[in-house]
């Protein structure tokens, strides 16, 4: 019972990182300045790498190989939050989304390194140093854009108002996840949310950005998706599905 439940939760973590990395890879060759083009690609590579680690654990729990899970699964079965499937938007939107997600990953991983499940703890420990760097990078960017100029402030405010309710979905638990919290495998999402809101709220305020009033997540279930996910997957899976699963690429 716990294995199936854990597999679903691990898949949700994997899908979030995969799609965020996928979306951010759209900036490669198009970022505002060359150094940041390289830096942002690094963040995307890290997120894809983290997804890989979670898909490998998912395979250990279910027997399903990562590439089959990624390329031969339809939108209805993806368990990502809507936050990461949204189109990349402008630079303020992409950077702020990455920041909100990195802040969430940092509070999450700080708990997961102490998970009672050894594999979960091990994977979290691998990701944590990279995620600390992510947060340093993106929080600096949020501060510079928030305080930099009227135009950047306007765009950041618009992005924040759009993204906030989507970000809150990160703390909506999957069905029956309470059992994993009780077993000290995953942290209590309400506690995570409080930590995240305190940290993010303080940093946004220091960056002259007003924390939106919305309290309810944009979607409650990780099975609910926007039309953007189907479009994303159609493109992402096109080449893989031009042959049967198992062909070597």
């Amino acid at each position: 019972m716990n294995d199936t439940l854990l597999a679903r939760n691990v898949l949700a973590l994997a899908d979030d990182s995969l799609l965020l990395g996928h979306r951010n890879s759209e900036w490669a060759g198009h970022a505002p300045i060359l150094e940041e083009d390289i830096a942002f690609a690094n963040l995307a590579l890290d997120e894809l790498g983290h997804a890989q680690l979670w898909y490998e654990l998912h395979q250990e729990l279910t027997g399903r190989e990562p590439d089959e899970t990624i390329f031969f699964r339809d939108a209805a079965d993806y368990l990502n939050v809507q936050l990461v499937e949204l189109p990349k938007g402008d630079w303020a939107f992409s950077m702020l989304r990455q920041y909100l997600f990195d802040a969430y990953e940092n509070v999450l991983l700080a708990h997961l390194v102490n998970s009672s499940n050894a594999r979960v703890a091990e994977i979290a420990a691998k990701q944590r140093p990279e995620e600390m760097y992510h947060l340093r990078h993106t929080s600096n960017w949020v501060k510079r854009l928030g305080l930099g100029a009227a135009e950047s402030h306007r765009r950041m405010t618009a992005a924040l108002n759009e993204l906030w309710a989507y970000a809150l979905q990160l703390f909506a638990p999957l069905e029956n996840a309470q059992a994993l919290t009780d077993a000290n495998i995953l942290p209590d999402p309400r506690a995570l949310q409080t930590e995240w809101e305190n940290q993010v709220g303080a940093h946004l305020t220091a960056s002259a950005l007003a924390v939106p009033a919305a309290r309810a997540p944009r979607a409650k279930s990780r099975s609910e998706h926007t039309a953007h996910l189907r479009e994303l997957l159609t493109e992402m899976q096109e080449v893989a599905r031009s042959e049967v699963y198992g062909v070597e690429w």
Partner: protein, 309 residues
Amino acid sequence: MTETEQLQAFEARIARGEKIEPGDWMPDAYRQQLIRMISQHAHSEIIGMLPEGVWLQRAPTLRRKLVLLAKVQDEGGHGQYLYHAAETLGVTRAEMIDALLAGRAKYSSVFNYPTLTWADIGMIGWLVDGAAIQNQTMLAHCSYGPYARAMVRICAEETFHKKQGMEQIIRYTRGTPRQKQMAQDALNRWWWPSLMMFGPHDATSPNSAQLIRWGIKTKTNDELRQDFVNKMVSDFHAVGLTIPDPDLYYDASSGNWISGEINWDEFWRVVKGDGPCNAERLQARREAQENGAWVREALAAYAAARGEG
């Protein structure tokens, strides 16, 4: 010292194998040739991110996605190293980028061809990065220190680019009929553009003699191209692919594979801006520059307000 004595001392340094460094005396023509070559090379790396970049979202496995993103990112890094090398000669990156976006600067014609199938990704790694390595291995011995050092860094990374491409194409030649067909089709389309990467024949290459005299290059365009053809023909034959050149033959006396004539009309047309994707490539760069303007300005304002930058 007179100008002639300075020139003699300069050429004696190059003959001794010394590197010329920023601040050292150099003939103005040396400086101008280097600025032209290095900035073109930098632009090629940056534009080179685009044809492969459009396949990042369609890579058929997670591993291929990681590899391709790392490669496209590396090309940006190469552009970064090269702009730095040119900057040491007294030109700014903003000036070089302006010249590119205004259509005044050249870059490698090969990036003006479209990527039509996923097999193009492997073929570009093998052929286009392979050709780049041929050229860059020579430039790592260039007499200008900053260019040589950029090349040393770049060559180490290009080897990864080439090998990941070879791995992919080798798999397809042993894969499904459709994969085999895709690999051959990609070779058919990329073979000639990659031969063109070495530039015009020596006889029609006005700068060649001086570049060699000053140690900027150590081999001519045709010599580099011949080395490349020899290596590639043997490699592609080994994996069972056909070189799309009916005139290709082996010359036993020289040990060289002699290829048919390059379509030079096409070469000059593409170099001068009229290739299949020239407009699209420059448009993508212009949009990135314009869409990023508010970002660069905001951060400049942030730093200025804090007395930095």
